[in-house]
Every structure is written in C-alpha cells, then in structure tokens.
Symmetry: C2
Subunit: 115 residues, 2 copies
C-alpha cells in the first residue's frame, strides 16, 4: 500500500471493516471539537485501528468513516466509545441526529491512475 | 423505517451495499458542481439505488457514501458511472486523489434515542 495524501486513511487490502457515521451537529461551539479530538486519539490507540476519514460541511452535516481490521477490533472500540460518551452527558448534547452503519469492505480502488 | 432529517439517506434494514468515495478536489470552480449534480440525478434513477450522503469540508476533502440494494445494482451503476466519467475528460480533471471502497452493510443504529 502506498502512502495516501492527508485526509485519506492508509488502508490494507480488503477485507476489513468500516464504521460509517453520519451526523448533524447543533450549535458549533459546545465542546464538540475537544470531544471529537479526544475520541479520535482514543480510537487511534485501539488494537485493530486502521484509520479514519472525516468531512463536515457548512450546514453541520458530516460523515466520519473509521476503519478496523476485524470484528473483534470493532466490538472492542464500541465498548470504549460507549463508555466515553456516557461519561460526557450523552450524545444528544452534540448531535441533532446521527446514523451509524457497520460494513465489511470487500473491494477498493484508488486514483487518478498514474499519479 | 422512519424518515430521517435532510442529508441522511432513508435506508432499509441491512444487508445492503455502501460505496464509500473519499476525494480531494482541486480548483473549486471547474464544472465539478454541475457534474456532481448530474451524476447524483443519474444514480437516483438506477435500479437498486437506496440513497446518498455527502459532505465536503473547506480544504476540499470530501466523503460521499452511496447506498445500493445489492451487488447487481452496484455493478450496473459502476458501468453507467464509468461511461459518464469517460465522456467527461476523466476523473483527474476534478480530483487530486480519490479512494473508493465497496462495503456490505451488516448492522445499523440511529439516534439520539427518543427524538
């Protein structure tokens, strides 16, 4: 695997797991940034963590995809993340709505070709 | 399934497929918006199309996740998308880099609870 540009997760060949987290944020300055940074640092220390990709637009809608080596890694992270969020007054402090999907990555492509 | 807020795809119970497209855009005003809108309209008319979620931040890094009923729908869309892009001078006109992952969604959750 080659080293991708900043923002892209350096991923191994499939199969691996992806957690697709879509969310709509409320007020912009409510401690979310600090929480998100802390959660990201925590995730990066978990066994089986492969990487993360994230983008949020001007309306507050965002997508974060974290990548995990296998289901064991994913389940361990879920337990840690739940505990962390429970300690912090709950998710509804930051999110008006969210949807989380757990998916098994089967194939991948990169481009443009020849760069 | 309940109707989600704007930005979120209304999805059936798993399993279904997700195409995770991470991309870094170059110059902002190069016809990309028109192309993206056209591709989205085209995708929405494909059999097996379930929905799409998309966010791009201020740096030009974006994530688009499209959802598909099954592998047949996904393969048909791939052929259509390839053809469209080939007609339009190629992907490298818009993207400095992209990564595409095809994943099977196995589980999903929504929240916050009670809203």
């Amino acid at each position: 695997m080659s080293i991708p540009p900043p923002g892209f997760a350096p991923l191994p060949d499939p199969p691996y797991y992806a957690v697709i987290f879509a969310s709509l944020r409320g007020a912009p300055d409510d401690g979310y940034g600090a929480m998100a940074a802390e959660m990201a640092a925590l995730a990066a220390r978990q066994p089986g963590y492969l990487g993360v990709e994230s983008a949020r637009d001007g309306t507050g809608f965002g997508l974060t995809v974290s990548y995990w080596a296998d289901e064991t890694a994913l389940i361990a992270w879920k337990a840690v993340a739940k505990h962390q969020l429970a300690q912090r007054l709950g998710k509804d402090r930051w999110y008006l709505h969210y949807a989380l999907r757990v998916a098994k990555v089967e194939r991948q492509y990169e481009g443009p070709e020849g760069r």
